[in-house]
Symmetry: C2
Subunit: 154 residues, 2 copies
């Protein structure tokens, strides 16, 4: 029921709180955690625009843009690494995935690809207003996911 758990994180506080719940699920049979971070399409589009503008349409802007994207990916890897270490120390097998695109779509794609049993989700991401009852990404994932969802409130 909880064997393979998908844990999407955007490094927000609520996502961090979810980590404690994940660990608690160890004794309920959780074995493997798929640790996911999505680089938002908006961020990628911004990189594209910024570098294109800086080079005045020179085709070589692509090299710089690709390097920037690589650095961004490295940054995410660096942020995921200590979480993976923490989960491994708690006895889990951990798989890290960094995807590019739209969060809801990517989360549901990974849910399917990794055949997860459950998703542990923070109720709010980094971009959500404090006043919102629940973040838009979380809300959509809850609706569309096939798996059981543990929604950790702020």
């Amino acid at each position: 029921m909880f064997k393979i758990i998908l844990y999407p994180t955007d490094f927000s506080d609520t996502a961090g709180k979810s980590l404690d719940y994940l660990k608690q699920l160890k004794n309920a049979g959780a074995e493997k955690i798929v640790l996911l971070n999505v680089i938002h399409q908006r961020v990628l589009d911004t990189l594209e625009t910024v570098h294109k503008a800086a080079y005045f349409q020179d085709a070589r802007y692509h090299e710089d843009r690709d390097e920037a994207e690589l650095n961004l990916t490295k940054d995410r890897q660096n942020k995921l690494a200590p979480i993976a270490v923490e989960l491994e120390a708690a006895g889990f097998e951990v798989k890290i995935r960094i995807e590019k695109g739209y969060p809801v779509k990517e989360i549901l794609k990974v849910e399917k690809e990794e055949a997860v049993s459950a998703i542990v989700l923070g109720s709010h991401g980094r971009n959500n207003f404090r006043s919102a009852r629940i973040g838009s990404v979380s809300e959509k994932v809850i609706r569309r996911a096939v798996s059981t969802v543990l929604l950790v409130k702020r």
Copy 2:
């Protein structure tokens, strides 16, 4: 994190499936289950209407109506009893609550009164269309609950 769990049930299939998840949470620290069934206000209103009509406004219709309501409550108790037995056999302390009113409001009231740590909820109730991604009661509870919610999908 999972010490006291609120488990609202309308005896639907998805609510039944939630029972397996509840048991699984025993090892994650769950100790007490608050087993809740709500007698919907619509049902109570119907009782009122039907008995009032049968008695042609005779004030004594109240006696019959009250008896009908009592029988309804007994019926719910009979349906909750085997679930309580099953949960007790799994090692939980169980508290049964039957509330009258609107499900979302009653669930949130009991969440507060019983100081629950988490809510285990089926994604669909008895009255939801198969095609709906998530039932309306579940959706509202997810939004408004303060506690962590485990949403069990159909």
